[in-house]
Symmetry: C2
Subunit: 346 residues, 2 copies
């Protein structure tokens, strides 16, 4: 038998174990792995390597005389060192394109179809986070007088999102004042991130201490209305029904836990908001998740951009036993297409 670097063989075998387990969902035994290598390595040898891997806590046995199952740590190693990017086929890409690019101009519908696309392609639950307004760039604002105590503010971003919000004000503004404030804000804020507007104006306020002051103050009062820059923190979910086909959910308790994890909107929202900051794919495997609801499952996230600005995130959540490679490439592709579609909207 060829002399192979031990370290590298361990890796290969770990990879084989992970892939086989992901595929079959049954603990994988030495024979099965040996077969995978066309019997170029005997089961006995593989058993030895497996014992090592088990010592390293990369795999474990559900019980004596069962095959091995990857641990969270095992998946982590696999994902970090062994995962090869998996390319989507033309057919797969075309399914995704159909879902994302033929959804009309309705953002709701696009988001829903994007999450559906994730779910269909990966067989786990797809999640899409609506574009974060704070990450969008100011283009235009209009303030309308509705009645004595109410103003409607409409903000348009460069990427074409529109946010409006009705505000109760104790202060009374005349139409002229509103027009002046509108004009001022439009000339002043062009190109500023919505999330930065407050600090931007505050800085301005400190610089200019002359007659301009009260005016600027008025503008700020209006803009500081809570909820004006708040995106509707909406998560789109798809695929809960089909994920129940996975053997891990034959036990209804696990199913409940999983649905609980999906309904923990706050936890997922936090995770997505955090991950969004960084470019590309992020993977959270089982106990790596801080959030207790999710600790039995894995979440893969990916941001999406509009005009090169990170503006939102998509994700997949499922059992730790998932096709990480496939999920990664699907998310990458979908985030890209979703970004393009949103650019066209704007």
């Amino acid at each position: 038998m060829k002399h192979v670097d031990m370290e590298s063989r361990r890796k290969t075998i770990l990879g084989a174990i992970v892939e086989s387990y992901v595929d079959t969902a049954t603990p994988v035994g030495s024979r099965a792995i040996s077969q995978r290598f066309r019997y170029t390595i005997s089961p006995a040898t593989i058993r030895n390597v497996m014992a090592d891997l088990e010592e390293m806590e990369l795999i474990m046995q559900p019980h004596t005389s069962a095959g091995r199952v990857p641990t969270d740590k095992g998946y982590r190693f696999y994902v970090d060192s062994l995962l090869e990017p998996k390319h989507l086929t033309k057919e797969e890409e075309s399914i995704i394109n159909k879902l994302i690019h033929h959804s009309g101009n309705d953002i709701e519908y696009i988001m829903q179809n994007a999450s559906k696309a994730i779910s269909i392609m990966t067989n786990v639950v797809g999640i899409v986070l609506t574009p974060r307004l704070k990450r969008s760039i100011f283009k235009h604002i209009e303030l309308f007088y509705i009645d004595d105590s109410k103003i409607l503010a409409v903000i348009i971003t460069t990427s074409g999102f529109v946010k409006n919000s009705i505000m109760d004000l104790e202060e009374h503004f005349t139409k002229q004042e509103l027009t002046r404030i509108t004009e001022f804000l439009n000339s002043e804020l062009e190109g500023v991130f919505l999330g930065d507007i407050k600090s931007y104006l505050t800085r301005k306020l400190l610089e200019e201490r002359d007659s301009f002051y009260t005016f600027l103050k008025q503008a700020m009062d209006i803009l500081s209305i809570p909820g004006l820059f708040k995106t509707d923190d909406h998560l789109y979910f798809e695929g809960a029904a089909c994920i129940m086909a996975h053997p891990e959910f034959t036990d209804v308790k696990k199913a409940r836990l999983f649905l609980g994890a999906c309904e923990d909107k706050k936890g997922l929202l936090n995770l997505l908001n955090e991950d969004m900051e960084f470019e590309g794919i992020k993977i959270h495997i089982g106990k790596e998740n801080i959030n207790s609801e999710i600790r039995d499952f894995s979440v893969v996230t990916c941001n999406y951009k509009v005009n090169d600005t990170i503006i939102g995130a998509i994700a997949a959540i499922g059992p730790t036993r998932m096709e990480y490679g496939k999920v990664m490439s699907v998310l990458k592709y979908i985030s890209h297409e979703l970004g393009k579609e949103l650019e066209n909207l704007g």
Copy 2:
């Protein structure tokens, strides 16, 4: 033993069977019912009645020597003839109030909490349909010039909802024209239902064939942009995790079916939109549902109103074995509170 009208005793016993089954989820036997009546009726008598009820297809046996289970028809009879309105306790009302009235000004959040309230109070999945724009009354419109080919339209309704939509137009409008059209629409459309605007203007168009014609035509062109009056058809769901505690879902297949039913947004949307037309509670039990996805489950719906106009619907979906009385009163109460909350927003 007292002589009791046969027909009425059948009813009483059917009621007892339904209630017992709803309560325990196990087929109910003659002994159990007899006990329910403090043994004033013997098990043997009850068996006779049960045989009758079975002949009438109101109850059935899962297998010989099991107790009886209500059929869809049985539930229907129960709901139509036996159900007594169940009042909510002060505590229950206060839980609901907390969820609905302390959600701030964020509609998203209110809707989500309303569906959560349904789910928590009834132990089945709660659904809330966003307010239908078409059922809202026009208050105000503003058209802005964004750039050469784009206009932003913002419509405000009397109930305080705001809808905006960016429109690509081939025709070019000057600012003056836009202002004139805006003014025209605002004076003309006050008090008209958004859903009626098109037919309203068309009628107008037929009446007035003079110089006004082109002007009116322009206005219509703008308003006929698809999606302008389209509500985001959004359904809020809550409670999928907790519903899995029901014994009907120990079989994962049933769980899958149920989640499938919940993900059939179109079907549910249709159902809610239809039911919305009629005042009050509507109940769809099992096979009464046309939609195949839902035929194993029951849906209870209730519209909600803002300023006496029906504007949306809420619902509960769960196994046919559900506490119909409780669900009805919870939906009634929540629809009322939700309406009030939305009025306050406007």
